[in-house]
Amino acid sequence: MIRRRSNASGRSPRPVRPLGRLRSALGAGVLRPGRLWEERPLRRHYDVVIIGGGIHGLATAYYLAKDHGVQDVAVLESQYIGFGGSGRNTAIVRANQRTQENVPLYDEGLKLWPILTDELDFNLMFHNCGNLNLAHSEAAVAAFRLSINTAGFCGVRLELLDARQCGELVPALDVSDRPAHPIQAGMYHPPGGVVRHDAVVWGLARGANLHGAAIHQGVEVRGIDTEGGRVTGVRTNAGRIGCRKLGIMAGGYAPAVAAMLDIELPLNPLTIQAMVTQPLKPFLHHVVSSGAYDVYANQTLKGEIATGAHMDPQVNYTTDVTARYFKHQAEALTDFMPCLRGVRFLRVWAGLADMTPDMAPILDGNFAHDGLYLDAGWGYFGFKSGPVAGKYMAEFMARGEAPEILKPFALSRFLENRYMGETAVAMKYGQWD
């Protein structure tokens, strides 16, 4: 028996189509008023268990249930869904990465946002306002040329602008010689933009649940059981849960989860900080980023300037923030966007990014134990890649064989000296910095 959302609030119940039929067939759960997904009793065994109720885990569950007929799926989240990186990122999406293995994946991910908005019947607030990366040196301009050629090769729109054109596109930029690092050129990526990250979490949770997946919040995995080279289940604060296949999709916490199986990974969880200013009238209509200033910034629909980029180099599982970066952010932002002088910061927060040495993710399966799958190492690209990673990880988990597009991302590349060279990104990190 399924309780429908109560109509007592005066609002009419949201029509659920065409997934409503599926829900009644699956039954067993309770959809409480105001909730987007059913609460189901935690069972002792699932075909597939996914560790991490963020965008990657929820998207994988969604596609497993929707496209591969695997509905016996449980997503285990130790806190609440979207608690980790999914709710802490700065919501920027783009497909202007550096290497020809990465660009097609991010490009498909970028094209998924409007499709998902339709499919999930949930407004993800995709705003393809375009991204402008700034170069402040000849070396940075050369790196832009490489990216632009890769993008052209992969069919992604990416253009080189000179400083004057940057100023025409974003009048708030100071394109004169006054800033400490004068703007030399820009790399303009019109199809990129921002997506409301909470909406993605909620929409995917609702979609996954409607198609049959179970979402369990407050269930913390404390150990992983294996037997005869196979994953057999997880030990949690709510008891043991058996499974045939296990996906580690825990974002920044992935290295700690893998360590439960004594698996060493080329992954370093680092704390990354972000902040927003007080709301301002709309003036910044693009996502702007700068490697030299170590800053990216965009104006949210509420008018705040959301900005970030800072990482302390030491491995760190806390989400603490530091006054040092608050100061840096203010100095850097106001140097190339002087109109922001005197504007106040309202909030600052931090999340975790799991960094690989080559800045590209690790997408692998059956690599240490049969039935063990890993979707990690996205660093600070985990948000923009979430749904597309879930789509292909679902295919991987359902068939047991890596889809062609994921094969270059296997863990073994780090043992074969085949690093991907995505390091041409805005931020500096790690002990080699």
């Binding site: 360590a259 030491q314 491995v315 599982y317 603490d320 002990q431």
Partner: protein, 105 residues
């Protein structure tokens, strides 16, 4: 929140005076022609594992730090990634570290 590290020369200093040098990862594995001949492929793999693969448990571990903005010494110390604070060798968080992290001298 920022914290302080204990430099063996200068004492407790703000962590931003230091450069992180990564965890203590044991001796560098044998490499070169002799090692490669002894077990083809294994020496390279051992090197990649030593250079990049980490067991990043949220537990205290030994790390290398460089006091670049101070005396310029490299030293090893213990820190807990779960709390991002200095820890006693082999385990527990050092007492009084909370207080020292709080006062900004």
């Amino acid at each position: 929140m920022t914290f302080r590290l204990t430099c063996p020369v200068c004492g407790k200093r703000d962590v931003y005076e230091f450069t992180y040098g990564g965890p203590e990862r044991g001796p560098r594995p044998a490499e070169g022609d002799a090692a490669e001949r002894a077990d083809p492929g294994a020496a390279a793999e051992a090197h990649f594992r030593w250079a990049q693969f980490r067991m990043n448990r949220p537990d205290p571990r030994e790390e290398w730090w460089y006091h670049g903005a101070g005396c310029g010494v490299w030293f090893s110390t213990w820190r807990d990634p779960a709390t991002n604070r200095e820890a006693r060798p082999g385990g527990a968080e050092t007492s009084g570290n909370e207080a020292s992290g709080g006062d900004s001298s």
